[in-house]
Subunit: 143 residues, 2 copies
Amino acid sequence: MNISEAAKLSGLSAKTIRYYESIELLSQPRRAGNGYRSYHHGDIKTLCFLRQARQFGFNIAQCRLLLGLYKNPQRRSGEVHQLVSDKLEEVDAHIRELGETRDLLASLVGACSNNDEPDCAIIDSLADPREQVESQCLTENDR
Amino acid sequence: MNISEAAKLSGLSAKTIRYYESIELLSQPRRAGNGYRSYHHGDIKTLCFLRQARQFGFNIAQCRLLLGLYKNPQRRSGEVHQLVSDKLEEVDAHIRELGETRDLLASLVGACSNNDEPDCAIIDSLADPREQVESQCLTENDR
DNA sequence: CTAAGCCTTACAGCAAGAGGAAGGTCAAGA
DNA sequence: TCTTGACCTTCCTCTTGCTGTAAGGCTTAG
C-alpha cells in the first residue's frame, strides 16, 4: 500500500512518516516500480507503535529505544517497564506543576475586579518583582 | 544597571532579554556611553511581568497583548480578566488530558510482567492498531 | 488530451530561546 | 603600564518535531 493508506491506518501523517524515515527512526521502506513507498502489515504495526509512544509523551530518542525493544525478540520486559514507569513519573510531575500553575491562575482570576476600570490586581501581581524572590531563594536553597 | 543585573533582578536570562528586544516584545532600552544596555526600575517591572506571564503559560503573542494592557492606563480590567481566565481553562484542559495519559500509562505499567522474559504487554499494546480506531472515529464524528 | 489526485525530493519556517564565536570595554592587581 | 578576567556587543547556528510549499513525475478517468 502507498504512504497515504499507511498514514490513514496508522494515524500518522504522510509527512510524519517521511520525516521519521529521514531521521532514521524508520528504516527505508520497499519501493514499488514507480518509486513510491510501499508498506505492509508489519510496517503499519510499527507506525502505530510510534504514534502511540509519541502520544504517551515519549520523545524521538525514547521512541528509538522503545522501538529497539519492540524489534528485539530477546528483550527483557523489565527494560520496557522501566522506560514506561519513568515516563509515568515524569507525567505525574508535570501534572503537579501544572496544578500549581492552575491554582495561581485561579487566584489571579479571583482577585481581579473584572470591570471597565483600569485597576487590576492581575496586572499589579504580574509586574511585582517580589513574586519571584521567594521561589528563587527556595530553588537556590534546594541545591 | 547593565543587562546581567537586570537579568538577575527579573529572573530572565540576558539572552532572553535580548531575544525579547529582537522580536520587539520589548522596546529598545537606553544605552550607556559604551553601548551597553542600561536598565532602570520600570524596566525591571516590565521584565518581571514578562517572566511571570511566560511562567503562567502565556505565549509570546499573548504576552504582547498582556503587556499592551499593562502599559495602557486606560485598560479595562475585564480584558485582563478574560485573557487570564481563558488561560486558566486552557491549563485545566491540559491537566485533564495529561491525567488521561497518566492513567493509560499506569495501566500499561501494571500490565507488564516486568522480568527477564521478552513477553511484554506494553509492547503488544503499543503496536496494536486497534488502540487508535475508536478515538479517531470519535474525533471524526465530533466534526 | 487533460484534469485530478496521488507520489517524489528538497528547501524554508514555526516557538522560544540556548550556545558559541569574535571582538570591544572596564576595573583590579603586579 | 600591562595583563587578566569578567563583563558587554552582534551575528550565526542549533534545538524539537514536525508542517508548508514548490516543482515536478505517475496514474487513472473522462
